[in-house]
Symmetry: D2
Subunit: 141 residues, 4 copies
């Protein structure tokens, strides 16, 4: 498996915690999105750059596993891993690690596809994306 | 003062409550927006209809007073009151009433202006809006 | 497979739509939660009742498939289906149906477990839950 | 007027932008809260420390003025200013500055009071808060 990953630190907002005083599960999707964005900025392919090329990558699948609670005040890191694929899709894995407790908070996996501006599914990734992908410093596992 | 009002019932979502087990203050803006939308649908001028006429009404001011707590499970009603004005702006007042406790939860007031699609401020309300306003069953207070 | 389901109508909030003018994917988790809550109220086992018995049911898994876009102004219905299981867990399936387009917007599945107030995993469902489960009008498929 | 201020940088999340591609107004309250939290951490009085002393400071008033749009990708800074008062309340002013456009995005002011754990209003600030306030490096304007 070829992959590439990036980690970014983050903090839990007061407004992200529910009445059980733990992060409300839906807010992990914001952490995953923060991770995906940080990944894109780090490796030179941001949402806005893609959008400027008329490329949109809607999510078609998102799986989440909640492992341990994250509380307000906890420091977290978000690791985002792009999984290499030849298919016209984008596969990311995520891990939210709770640095305060030393435990994994949640993991996830998402699949995105390529659509044009009329939301029509594209069978091939756009050239700008393939070009970018080719030049990445992939790791092997 | 000429005004027109509309009331809609609503429920507090689990995800809207914070770790003190009361509605997080920012979520009142969602209730105000729900009220504004219900008002528009009731009186025949929705966001989407305005948008179809190229009219956008961004908020320029929002004031909120928090009076008593609202908890998960509480039933609320949202009263939205359009205040008549000759100026090229839209003034709404809001009241979130907690039907479970019999107390006012929060009140607010917002001011919106008219901009065109380039976000340029308009000194006059668009004809479609003035026409609509003229035919409303205004009340006097 | 034994199951039980409940459907509730809902509306898309302006604040739930992203810059592509479609529901931001994380907001489907609010629809799923709305569905779960409506299910509980309909069949007589709400979050607050469980909480009063010291029972908390944290999510451990959530899978989502996004099928077609849902836009601001679209009317949706949320169907929530409890899947019968002998295990000490709670399995729900969800479908967000877009009544405006006639297409399924998203489906999902969640797994919850039982913990006590110290967040310790319980190997058996609490008596109040088993009693409730026994008396439900399960359907067969 | 005696005051004390602190500035923190922030980024606009994709999920914070609405279908007009500008920050949804309610999300400024998250930026204000981020600012308030950064202020507290910087000057040694966090929400969690206050909470540990049984002190809760609910918002009773929040005013917001929206000056110019903030878009996804814009870099912002949040300046939070504590205004000195002898009264048993906490007054903050906020400014969200858009570093990308060089324009102020929004300003706001909030008032918080002190309540005990039964949500009863306190006529005097708690000793831990007064002690902290006395030792701050107030500026004069």
């Amino acid at each position: 498996m070829k992959y590439l990953e990036h980690t970014v630190d983050a903090k839990v907002r007061f407004s992200e915690v529910d009445s059980l005083r733990v992060v409300w599960h839906g807010n992990y999707l914001k952490y995953f999105e923060d991770g995906r964005e940080a990944f894109g900025l780090h490796y030179g392919m941001s949402y806005l750059e893609l959008h400027a090329h008329g490329v949109v990558q809607p999510l078609v699948k998102m799986d989440m596993d909640f492992k341990s609670v994250v509380r307000y005040g906890d420091l977290i890191s978000i690791t985002t891993r792009l999984i290499y694929t030849k298919a016209a899709k984008v596969i990311f894995e995520y891990e939210v690690f709770n640095k305060t407790t030393g435990l994994v908070g949640a993991v996830g996996q998402s699949i995105q596809v390529f659509v044009d501006e009329n939301m029509e599914l594209q069978l091939f990734a756009p050239p700008v994306y393939d070009e970018w992908k080719k030049n990445l410093p992939w790791k092997e596992k």
